[in-house]
């Protein structure tokens, strides 16, 4: 299952080294804020982007963002270096480096964004780039399928999130997170529940909470460095980040507490059992990630200093050891050719450095002192005791931690010191570029545990303050907190975990049996997609007839009926027809337009009909000239000219209109035309009957010259006052052109299977 990698291929390539260097530089950039943020508080960068829509590009670096930013760039640097070696000689390595780097930047944007809209954009960017990364082995159908599953699930959650954000923006009057959080909880607002559900949908799909969990283990189809990065500190933590980030404004209600506690606890315990059940080490780690995400969500339910400190400490610990362990599994896979827990064993002799890294990461994961993992567990128990339904949190937490202890032994102990099975390849130590990552991360985890005061001051406490929305009394991170209830719970956890490890082989068989009987969410997903496709196909067959006349008929009918409905539902005084001031010229133009229309309707030649349409268009242009709108008139004439010329070119090759053929549709067409014409006339009469509102006209007349230095008001509006609209329009022009181009070019390549049918019809 190891990705192709040639041990002799050069791995120091420009793409790899540039991405490593840039990410490293970003890490150093954020590192300089490490002393600043705890001392002076948050740092903010703001650019006004579209002030009229309240869209700003604003970045906000507080304790929480800083911790994430350091994890993202720090682990990112190590993972990119690792990937350069891991995928050395891979033909598409450059593409991979680009994807990974783009993902890193999106993730960084996500955790730094202060504006909800910007955050959403970065959120979707991570979805999209992770899709490319998970589906990197795109020749493998399973890999493509799993990538698509992750994309669809998280993007669907993303849409819910956007809806939630917009509701927040409307109800709170701002999209800025810093202002929202400063305003405090919005739990009293009448639509709070709706907002919460939408935001939680986004967070839970992204962070793979049960029942949206199944995409995460499937996402292991990605190359191992991707799994190490996405599932340790980044992608899946985005949901957790969001919950932490919005904690001050969204928490403070019972719904928040119970929803997060229950979903988090169920996910954590379910995932721990699933982790024990796996034999593929990478799958085992995937489920322990799920367990960590569940635990984090569970602790974010609380609002006490202990609960939040537990969440933040555990987040830090988990990012460090999980990235390290994933990278270790990658090395094992790379060097032995297998990831099967039943086969692997006794690797410590062949790979001593990797074994040390794995062992230390495993100890951190198991929560053994003096690792930060131990402290995290102590704080977690202390936090659990402060929370609502604390007995539930403590029991679920202990189950998860004990299972994790067992899994840590399986992942980090057994492959290196357990009995050795038959390996596909003779193992030897991994190259330094790959070993560097896990070793560094492990040492950091150990140091963070040995110096709890430093970790707390620089990382954990600022993050906790950011989540709580207020500076919090710290001093919770201690290696030795005395004999108390949390310590007792810790000891109990170790005992339980050790027992679980001893019986894990039997337990695994039991779990496999149980799993076979439970509902398979992953298979249900496929069924759901199939049904969805079937519905889509069925409705397409009904709606998309492929006959142009039907589309035109439907479009015009909908237009006429909706406008007619509005006109009837909103009655006004009957408009007065006033023909004063309409002279010979205007009547002449009207006659010209009518003559053109009659020609179009009655002629049997396509070209003549086209010319008739051209006459109508020119008539309209003449009206513009008569009422002194030269810009519009010129555009109209040019467009008419182009349409006539282009269509003439196309129509030259087509047969005459067959007026003797089926004519049953003609009465319907007549009825529709009369309806559309009548409704349009009625609307225009009602509009012109109102007094003319000169406010906009006056504004543009007054400011066109003074503010935009232009005398042609129409053009000034287009390119200065309403540039964003124009930009949207030209983007539409391009899309339309590409669509037409694709239709014309694509149609030529298809076999012309409709020709015989047409011929038959002609004969009939």
């Amino acid at each position: 299952m190891a990705e192709p990698s040639d041990p002799n291929a050069p791995w120091v390539t420009p793409a790899g080294m540039i991405t490593v260097a840039l990410t490293g530089a970003l890490f150093l950039f954020f590192l300089q804020y490490l002393p600043v943020v705890p001392r002076d508080g948050a740092v903010q960068w703001v650019w006004d982007w579209i002030p009229s829509l309240q869209v700003r590009l604003s970045f906000w670096l507080d304790g929480l963002s800083l911790m994430f930013a350091l994890l993202i760039t720090g682990i990112g640097t190590l993972v990119m270096l690792y990937a350069a070696r891991y995928l050395a000689g891979h033909p598409q390595y450059n593409r991979f480096a680009l994807y990974l780097f783009s993902f890193m930047l999106s993730m960084l944007g996500l955790v730094l964004a202060d504006n909800l809209i910007a955050l959403f954009v970065f959120w979707e960017l991570t979805t999209f780039t992770s899709y490319l990364l998970i589906g990197f082995s795109h020749t493998d159908p399973k890999s493509r399928r799993n990538a698509l599953q992750a994309l669809l699930l998280t993007a669907a959650g993303g849409l819910a999130l956007l809806a939630g954000f917009i509701l927040i923006g409307i109800t709170q009057g701002t999209f800025e997170l810093s202002q929202l959080n400063a305003a405090g909880s919005m739990a009293e607002h009448p639509i709070y529940l709706g907002i919460l559900v939408l935001v939680l949908l986004g967070a839970f799909t992204k962070s793979a909470q049960v029942p949206f969990h199944f995409w995460l283990p499937n996402a292991m189809a990605a190359p191992t460095p991707v799994s190490a990065y996405l599932h340790s500190a980044t992608m899946v933590k985005a949901g957790v980040y969001l919950l932490a980030r919005m904690h001050p404004s969204l928490s403070g209600s019972d719904v928040w507490v119970y929803t997060l506690t229950i979903f988090g606890a169920v996910t954590a315990v379910f995932a721990s059992f699933m982790a024990l059940r796996q034999t593929d080490l990478k799958q085992t780690l995937a489920y322990t990630t799920l367990m960590a995400l569940g635990t984090l969500v569970m602790f974010l339910a609380g609002s006490s200093g202990y609960a939040i400190t537990a969440a933040m400490t555990f987040l830090l610990v988990h990012s460090l050891y999980k990235a390290g362990l994933f990278l270790v599994i990658g090395i094992i896979d790379h060097e032995t050719g297998t990831r099967d827990a039943n086969v692997l064993g006794g690797l410590a002799r062949a790979m001593p450095v990797t074994a040390v890294a794995a062992g230390l990461s495993g100890l951190a994961m198991a929560g053994i002192p003096p690792f930060l993992g131990f402290i995290a567990k102590e704080v977690a128990y202390a936090g659990a005791l402060t929370m609502a339904i604390s007995w539930f949190v403590v029991i679920m937490g202990m189950a998860a931690f004990a299972l994790m202890f067992a899994v840590a032994l399986i992942v980090a102990w057994k492959p290196f010191f357990g009995p050795q099975g038959k390996l596909p390849r003779t193992p030897h130590e991994g190259p330094w570029a790959m070993v560097l990552g896990p070793i560094t991360l492990t040492i950091l985890g150990l140091l963070a545990g040995l110096l709890p005061g430093v970790t707390a001051y620089y990382l954990v406490e600022p993050a906790v303050a950011a989540v709580m929305g207020a500076p919090d009394v710290g001093g919770r991170l201690k290696l030795w907190a005395g004999f108390n209830l949390p310590l007792l719970l810790s000891v109990l956890t170790f005992a339980l975990g050790f027992v679980l490890y001893k019986v894990h082989a039997r337990l695994r068989a039991m779990l496999a049996d149980l799993e076979a009987r439970a509902i398979d969410m992953d298979a249900s997903w496929d069924v759901f997609l199939d049904r969805f496709m079937a519905v889509a196909k069925a409705q397409t067959r009904v709606i998309q007839t492929g006959v142009l006349r039907h589309y035109m008929f439907a479009t015009f009918a909908v237009f006429a009926l909706t406008v007619l409905g509005t006109l009837i539902l909103r009655p006004a005084a009957a408009p007065v027809l006033d023909f004063t001031g309409i002279g010979f010229v205007e009547w002449g133009i009207a006659a010209l337009i009518i003559a053109g229309t009659v020609l179009v309707v009655l002629t049997s030649s396509r070209i003549a009909a086209l010319v008739g349409l051209g006459v109508v268009g020119i008539g309209v242009a003449l009206i513009f000239i008569a009422y002194s709108a030269p810009d519009v008139a010129i555009t109209q004439i040019l467009v008419e000219l182009l349409v006539v010329v282009l269509l003439a070119v196309a129509l030259l090759k087509m047969p005459h209109l067959d007026r003797t053929g089926t004519q049953t549709h003609r009465p319907f067409d007549l009825g529709l035309s009369v309806l559309v014409g009548g409704v349009t006339t009625w609307v225009l009469l009602r509009v012109t009957n109102l007094p003319f509102d000169r406010r906009l006209t006056d504004f543009f007349e007054a400011s066109s010259w003074t503010e935009a230095f232009g005398r042609n008001i129409v053009n000034v509006i287009l390119v200065d006052f309403r540039t964003l609209d124009t930009f949207g329009e030209i983007a539409v022009v391009i899309v339309a052109a590409l669509g037409a181009f694709a239709l014309l070019k694509g149609g030529a390549k298809q076999p012309q299977d409709d020709t015989p049918a047409a011929t038959k019809e002609d004969r009939g």
Partner: protein
């Protein structure tokens, strides 16, 4: 169309039309014209040329693919919007630089992002219409 008179006349007409389209683009800020109209006129010029001499020759006269021109146009328009960003102003705020003075009246001429944006519009319209037109002509 194989009319010698048309193809001979078209060569002159095309050049005039094209220059006229640029003229319309540039004068648009004060007088009727602008990027949309200019782009349409430019497209007319090349369509006339392709009717006279065939799409292949018209395409080579354009020297770039119409889709590419349209895409570059959109890029230029976007860049014009980003300039304001560097002066700390909202997206798409017009930026003016007066050459030889400090206001419209005292300067000889001005460099501004509004015209840059209009050039983008011109290229988008030109490229989009030509890409459809050429596809049409090659089809038939």
């Amino acid at each position: 169309m194989n009319s010698i008179i048309f193809s001979a006349g078209a060569r002159i007409l095309v050049a005039l039309l094209f220059i006229f389209s640029l003229f319309m683009l540039l004068r648009g800020h004060h007088l009727p014209g602008g990027g949309f109209i200019g782009g349409l006129l430019g497209a007319v010029a090349f369509i006339v040329y392709s009717l006279a001499c065939g799409p292949a020759e018209a395409k080579s006269a354009l020297r770039a693919s119409p889709e590419g021109i349209a895409a570059v146009g959109l890029g230029i328009a976007l860049v014009a919007g980003f300039v304001a960003f560097f002066f700390g102003q909202p997206f798409f705020t017009g930026q003016w630089y007066w050459v030889g003075g400090d206001s419209y009246e005292t300067s000889i001429f001005s460099l501004n992002t509004v015209l840059v944006f209009d050039i983008g519009v011109y290229l988008v319209v030109l490229g989009s219409i030509l890409s459809i037109a050429y596809a049409f002509e090659e089809e038939t």
